[in-house]
Amino acid sequence: MMNFEEIITQKIQYLNGETSQDLDDKMQAIVEANPELQAEIEFIETIWQSQSLADDHQPSPALDARFYQMLSLAQSSQSPPTNDMIPETKKHWLDTVSRLFSLKPLAQFALLVLVFFTGWNLNTPSQPLVQVTSQKLEEQIATLNAMVAMTMLRDQSATERLAGVTYSAANAQNDTGLNDLLLELLINDNSSAVRLAIVDALAKRNNLHDIQSKLMFSIKKQNNPLVQMSLIRLAIQKQILIDENTLSALLNDQSIDTDVKDYIRENRRQLTGRHSV
């Protein structure tokens, strides 16, 4: 005997367009003989056929911007670079990203304040006072920039934290507290996009030797092969040497992706500096 689940399944498959066969006469007779089942079938028809229930919400444009930033980072991490770049029609998103994440107005305002006070002080007779004032202002602006960046980096939204990474790279590279926070996020942030952006930001710095041990430690903490790969690439790019023991530990680490291990093996000589011996 046919059970009620089969009839409900048939109805839903029909309403979903999986089959062109609605309930047959036998099923229909069962439905009509069971008021409870009939009410369920009518409810299913109401829910499945109501167009207003299927109205979708639109995500914000920031989601697109973040995705294309991530894709761009991933493509630039590919070696060698391929011609398979982002489609032309999407390239404008990268411009949007830089506009969204640059937060230039704040920095421009800070610069304006600096210029104003410097100019004002230059018109005063005491030259040493000008230098002291100017230096203090620069320090205050640097502190302000670091505070803004840290506030953004501690935000609950990954979008805001991404903006914080970009802002810190552009405006506050030398703040120790900020650098510590970036390294902490590189290990603990739940968004791979944020961690990738941090690696990208670090890659633009001239000197990473003071944080190289923390960087290498963070590789083992990554659960995303893209971030693992980016960190290895960063080590190669910045000539951060990894000793043989650490490298062997990475190669034996179960949490490191196979592709990443292959990449480490391919670049082992460069990573350990043995090619220069």
Binding site: F43, I47, W48, S60, M70, S191
Partner: protein, 181 residues
């Protein structure tokens, strides 16, 4: 080109094709997260994280199932990981926006609300596993075989669960609508 073929190109290193998959699935995935009870900001974060994982684990795409089924498997794991990090044992429970306690008073309050609002509230009041089955079938256009595969259950179990979920949804909907059953 179908999505499976597109994903195979991504798997083979032509990463630009991921944009096409993102454009096709972004809204569906975002609304899946919203209907599962996440807020907009978190929904967007998890869409981003899901596609990040698609990129990271592209080499594990076997093309045995559809790209969509694979994508939603990753999406479900992404949500689970997110709540595991927050320390919730039951990963789904935080999604439940409300449970209907006082049927009559709620029905009075909601008398003038639209069918859509009532439906959304009734859906949100369901346990997450029941809610997910209805969302996957009604809104994400998964067929029974795909849902069964995604949830790792057999077809008969799914049919039973679907009927239970619909009965529960109907009950909640009618209570919100001021009907007795």
């Amino acid at each position: 080109m179908d999505e499976k073929a597109t994903m195979l190109k991504v798997k083979n290193g032509q990463l630009g094709y991921l944009a096409e998959l993102f454009e096709n699935n972004r809204n569906g995935l975002f609304n899946f997260f919203l209907r599962m009870g996440l807020n907009r900001a978190l929904g967007e974060d998890l869409v981003q994280e899901t596609f990040m994982r698609v990129l990271a684990y592209r080499t594990s795409f076997k093309a045995q199932s559809s790209f969509k089924a694979w994508l939603y498997r990753i999406a479900r794991n992404t949500v689970a990981d997110h709540f595991r990090k927050l320390g919730n044992q039951d990963i789904h429970e935080p999604y439940c926006e409300e449970r209907i306690q006082d049927n009559q008073s709620l029905a009075d309050k909601l008398e003038k609300e639209s069918q859509q609002t009532l439906f959304e509230k009734a859906l949100a009041s369901l346990p997450a596993d029941q809610r997910e089955i209805i969302i996957l079938s009604r809104f994400q256009q998964f067929n029974y075989a795909e849902i069964a595969e995604l949830l790792n259950i057999n077809l008969n179990t799914l049919k039973t669960r679907m009927r239970t979920a619909i009965a529960q949804l109907k009950l909640q909907y009618n209570q919100l609508n001021g009907k007795t059953s």
